[in-house]
């Protein structure tokens, strides 16, 4: 078994672009321009995802006496620093909107597949052959969905899909398939589709028809496209060497429709020619008919396409032998002598050689090694089971094409060579390394599913947990890197959790970091979105922190009600207590001034706090305090209205009860006793009768006593000693004494 060949080492997201042919280790280079006099000092800070925020500052110069100076300001040079954001990763020209659309649709497919996987694992306990059997089909569905989102299917110039416009229609840039889609489909053929294994050569023919254009700058696709343009102006194309080369090439790689179509453009078909060129035309037509009857080992062919499909191998070989003998018979026919047109004769003979599998002619009729390989499979070894021998053929094809004159560096001319070869030869390590080197992290994150669909070996190397990577597998690493790219943008970060939630080791940790880095204090909507994600993935601690951040932000920015509500959701008792203290302080300070207003404002807030009464000492107090103050307000109002005495007395008694509750041990912080006792004076001096009994008055007295003692000891926390002036204490003491006397008398 080959050792993993990851010596190139790159994995995430800054792997070299294919353009940097110079060396595998060459890193991506970004350049920032500045206008500072000297080399700037750079401060680095990571922004969201894989963005980097850089501050370019002028150098600091230290004078002898330890004084710092900014170098440029001393030189009197205008040198403003700057802050820039660098988006890391590969340069690509794909429009942002397109990328985003792909990100959204592929995330959906990915999530669906992962859920299917989990269901499967649950239903059969994780082991089973039936599981794997069904599994590749699930992956195939996923693969086809993703492939469809990567762009529309396309074929060679003038092929069945593109027939109508031939020869005038030029291929539009937008219909050119992408390299990503080409690689995706090729991996699907080799790593996923088990059904396709029996007709693999034909699948490669199809693949090549779709993606020949992306293999390199010099392929049959380019050759035929050029021919298309030339043919428009030619009456007798058969006079041109390019024409015959073109037909032979199309035939070699199995684009039969193009070959037949081109043949029927032969000049001998024209009405004014038919008499003189009867035999010639007969030969052309016979070859065209033979081509249209070529047996193909595949389940079906598109409607109207030339060739005959055979699904069953024995039937195919029988038909093929028969067809081959017809070709050979034509090759040896006597009619050739009667054909006057030497070019046509030579051209047609060449076509027959291609059909008979002449290695030399196949070599001449193809440009790229992949084309040669396909031609070989189609015309030389149509029966081969392929799987084992394929890699060997492929290497031979590369070698023959390499010898035939491509002297430029192969990696520049054929950037995909190593990757395609690796896919053909099931060399998973190289596939992984090359895909990471060539493409952005999207591909690897999604391709993992294809690679592990049925290959046990790929499963073992991609899912093995590696210590050097911090205990994660390659599969997880690639998901993480892609998630990080998603995190970079505010329109895509919400997709990152989909991938992170399927990263068993580090996914949740990174998800937490991602959520905690959202600027939740900038908008409640964003905060709610983050909380929704927390709920989905059961991240209670993060939710608490988010609630707390938003709560503190609102509180600090004067939105007290919202602040309390969010802090309550955070169940942050410490901060709620601090909030209660602050509220209370504002109230007792406001006593002298606009008492009513403050109270009204407070009322709402305390109501809000009230729902969580049990959770906080401070809040319990504040709630009762609110009741007490409201009671006093009502009494004042009732007295003004001169209502029924009994009603007033009831209110008085209730207010007294609130007061007594407030002064129970552990309820009210000591620093609020004094304002309470001051407020109590009104109740103590109740004109109609004593409201408070002997025992109750004694409780009030003892609180006052504790305050005085604290003043003597000098540990009055949070109380201004001036408030405890003799005068104010005397006033309270007098009221207490009076009330005590009245209570004694009454009892």
């Amino acid at each position: 078994m080959q050792m993993p060949s990851f010596n190139g080492g790159d994995f995430v997201p800054y792997a070299n672009s294919p353009v940097s042919a110079g060396g595998d280790g060459a890193p991506v280079v970004h350049t920032v321009h500045h206008s500072m006099a000297s080399t700037p000092r750079v401060l680095v800070s990571w922004g969201p995802g894989n963005t980097l925020r850089l501050s370019y500052l002028p150098q600091v110069v230290r004078d002898g006496d330890d004084d710092m100076k900014i170098s440029s300001s001393r030189e009197g040079d205008a040198a403003n620093g700057q802050v820039v954001e660098v988006k890391l990763g590969k340069k690509d020209d794909q429009p942002l909107a397109e990328k985003r659309a792909l990100a959204y649709s592929s995330a959906q497919a990915f999530a669906l597949l992962q859920n299917q996987k989990q269901q499967m694992l649950q239903s059969d306990g994780g082991s089973s052959r039936t599981g794997t059997f069904d599994w590749w089909q699930a992956v195939l569905e996923y693969s086809q969905i993703i492939s469809a989102t990567l762009g529309p299917a396309s074929g060679p110039p003038g092929s069945a899909t593109d027939f109508s416009g031939f020869p005038t229609k030029e291929l539009q840039a937008s219909t050119k398939p992408t390299t990503v889609k080409a690689i995706w489909d090729l991996v699907e053929i080799f790593y996923v589709d088990k059904n396709g294994a029996s007709w693999l050569p034909e699948r490669l023919v199809e693949w090549l028809a779709s993606y020949d254009a992306v293999l390199s700058s010099n392929t049959l696709h380019t050759k035929l496209t050029k021919l298309q343009q030339r043919l428009v102006n030619l009456r007798f194309p058969e006079e041109e060497k390019e024409y015959w080369d073109g037909v032979a090439s199309a035939l070699a790689v199995g684009w039969l429709d193009i070959a037949v179509y081109l043949l029927r453009m032969h000049g001998s078909y024209q009405h004014d020619q038919i008499d003189n060129r009867n035999v010639e035309n007969g030969l052309v037509e016979t070859v065209a008919v033979l081509i249209s009857k070529m047996p193909r080992l595949r389940p079906s062919l598109p409607a109207g396409a030339p060739g005959q499909a055979f699904d069953f191998k024995p039937e195919f070989s029988k038909a093929w032998e028969k067809w081959r003998s017809q070709v050979a018979k034509l090759d040896g026919s006597t009619y050739w002598g009667e054909c006057n047109n030497i070019t046509t004769q030579k051209g047609l003979k060449k076509l027959l050689k291609v059909l008979l599998g002449s290695i030399e002619d196949l070599l001449l009729s193809t440009t790229h090694w992949m084309e040669l390989l396909v031609a070989h499979l189609l015309h030389v070894q149509p029966f081969s089971k392929v799987s084992e021998g394929l890699a060997g053929y492929a290497v031979k094809c590369v070698e023959s094409k390499g010898d035939s004159g491509m002297n430029e560096s192969t990696s520049a001319n054929d950037p995909l060579q190593e990757l395609t070869l690796a896919i053909l030869s099931d060399d998973t390590e190289v596939v992984v390394a090359e895909c990471t080197r060539l493409f952005d992290p999207w591909l690897m994150a999604h391709l993992m599913e294809l690679l592990t669909a049925k290959s046990k070996y790929a499963q073992s190397i991609l899912r093995e947990e590696r210590y050097a990577l911090g205990g994660i597998s390659l599969e997880e690493l690639n998901r993480l890197s892609y998630a990080q790219v998603l995190c970079s943008h505010q329109l895509t970060w919400q997709l990152a959790p989909v991938y992170l939630s399927f990263c068993p080791r580090q996914g949740l940790g990174i998800l937490e970091t991602l959520l905690l880095k959202q600027p939740v204090s900038t908008s409640d909507r964003l905060a709610l979105k983050v909380l929704e994600v927390c709920r989905l993935y059961d991240l209670g601690t993060v939710a608490t922190t988010v609630n707390r951040i938003v709560g503190v932000h609102h509180w600090k920015h004067g939105r007290k009600g919202a602040g309390i509500a969010w802090l309550q959701r955070a169940q942050d008792d410490r901060r709620l207590a601090a909030v209660a203290d602050e509220l209370l302080e504002s109230v007792s300070l406001g006593m002298s001034g606009s008492q009513m207003e403050t109270l009204q404002e407070l009322e709402g807030l305390v109501d809000l706090l009230g729902s969580e009464l049990h959770s906080s000492q401070g809040l319990t107090f504040l709630h009762r305090y609110k009741d007490f103050k409201t009671g006093l307000q009502i009494i004042k109002k009732l007295r003004k209205q001169e209502t029924d005495q009994q009603k007033i007395a009831e209110q008085g008694r209730q207010a007294a009860d609130f007061l007594l509750q407030l002064l129970k041990p552990q309820v009210t912080p000591q620093r609020f006793w004094l304002p309470l006792l001051r407020d109590a004076v009104e109740l103590l001096e109740w004109p109609e009768m004593p409201l408070l009994g002997i025992h109750e008055t004694n409780l009030l007295l003892s609180r006052l006593q504790e305050l005085s003692l604290a003043k003597v000891r000098g540990d009055l926390e949070g109380i201004d000693p001036r408030d405890l002036s003799r005068q104010s204490l005397e006033r309270i003491r007098l009221a207490l004494a009076c009330n005590l006397g009245r209570a004694l008398l009454q009892e």
Partner: protein
């Protein structure tokens, strides 16, 4: 020639000409700028009406550094100036005054300037660790969660035990502190600290942990191999850890960056097992600043040559350069 890309560079802000230090908040939505004139600027990205750009005179002396507190304490900034003063500022708003930054408190003035300081939000409360120019570490703590006006000095100790040279003879030019990132959302009282000083002993980067049993800070590791001479530390950064079985700390000294691997928990002698995972030597100038990305997998380092380099570990644990951000002086004057 490696591929060259400029399209991925987005200019965000042109700075006032005397900026000495910049700091992004944890969500990368606010940037604080410290300046030589003592003015502090705060700027929001993307700009928003709810957080207008603002500036005020924060110190009489040049500001050395500015840092943000964890977001659960609001928009809270700490600044330190060359005269040794340290101040805390917070953003508040009220109906009358609108949004404004107010001074929360000032720390008692030190004789020597504070070279570096960081916030740490531990269970016991918010802490500030300062590294003084006299080689002393001070740890302040507050029990309050909203007001943050009252701080007390929890501990003070020199960054070296059993000092042979006289402490007075040592000059410290810079320092760097980095907290161990929270584990399972809990911030442990552990941080790494390194000095750049004239004394070798002083310079070694060390890891300090608050030992609950003894109620004091203890050194649990030195970041150096036993045979190596200590090197002055210019900057250090503890990598976020979201599931790695080991911790990583990057330390910039001179032209090189070392990445240290730490294995918690402590061994029987109360020490950490520390090994150097990499020594990166590609910078042509002194490495002055470094930062880890959110996954703790990519390290960005900046050198006095104006170049930023990005590093990642490959599958076999070797650290390699993956990207470069060069700076080029424009030939024309703007």
């Amino acid at each position: 020639m490696a591929s060259n890309s400029t399209s991925s560079i987005l200019p965000l802000l042109t700075l006032p000409d005397d900026v000495t230090h910049t700091a992004w908040n944890s969500s990368s939505s606010r940037l604080a700028l410290a300046s030589h004139s003592g003015t502090l600027h705060v700027w929001a990205y993307p700009p928003s009406v709810h957080s207008p750009a603002t500036s005020w005179q924060a110190h009489d002396a040049p500001i050395l550094k500015v840092v943000w507190a964890p977001p659960e304490f609001g928009h809270l900034l700490a600044t330190c100036a060359t005269d040794g003063s340290v101040s805390l500022w917070e953003e508040i708003s009220s109906k009358d005054a609108g949004i404004e930054w107010r001074l929360v408190c000032q720390f008692p003035e030190n004789q020597t300037p504070v070279l570096d300081f960081v916030f740490g939000s531990c269970l016991s409360g918010l802490k500030i660790v300062t590294a003084g120019g006299d080689g002393h570490i001070k740890i302040y703590e507050t029990a309050s969660t909203l007001e943050l006006r009252k701080w007390q000095l929890q501990a003070e100790f020199p960054n070296v035990a059993n000092l042979k040279e006289g402490i007075a003879r040592i000059t410290c030019t810079s320092a760097s502190i980095s907290w161990r990132p929270p584990v399972d959302s809990v911030q442990r009282p552990v941080f790494a600290l390194g000095y750049c000083t004239s004394s070798q002993q002083f310079s070694t980067a060390k890891i300090w942990e608050f030992a609950e049993a003894y109620q004091r800070w203890q050194m649990i590791a030195e970041l150096r191999e036993s045979h190596e001479k200590p090197e002055p530390v210019h900057h250090m950064s503890w990598a976020p850890n979201v599931g790695r079985p080991f911790e990583l700390i990057a330390v910039a000294s001179g032209k090189s960056v070392s990445i240290w691997r730490l294995e918690f928990p402590l061994d029987s002698q109360g020490r950490l097992v520390v090994t150097r995972a990499a020594r990166l030597i590609d910078h042509n100038g002194e490495v002055s600043h470094l930062d880890w990305d959110m996954t703790g997998m990519t390290l960005a380092t900046s050198g006095s040559d104006g170049t930023v380099r990005l590093w990642q570990s490959n599958f076999s644990g070797q650290w390699q350069q993956q990207g470069i951000v060069k700076s080029v002086k424009d030939s024309y004057k703007r």
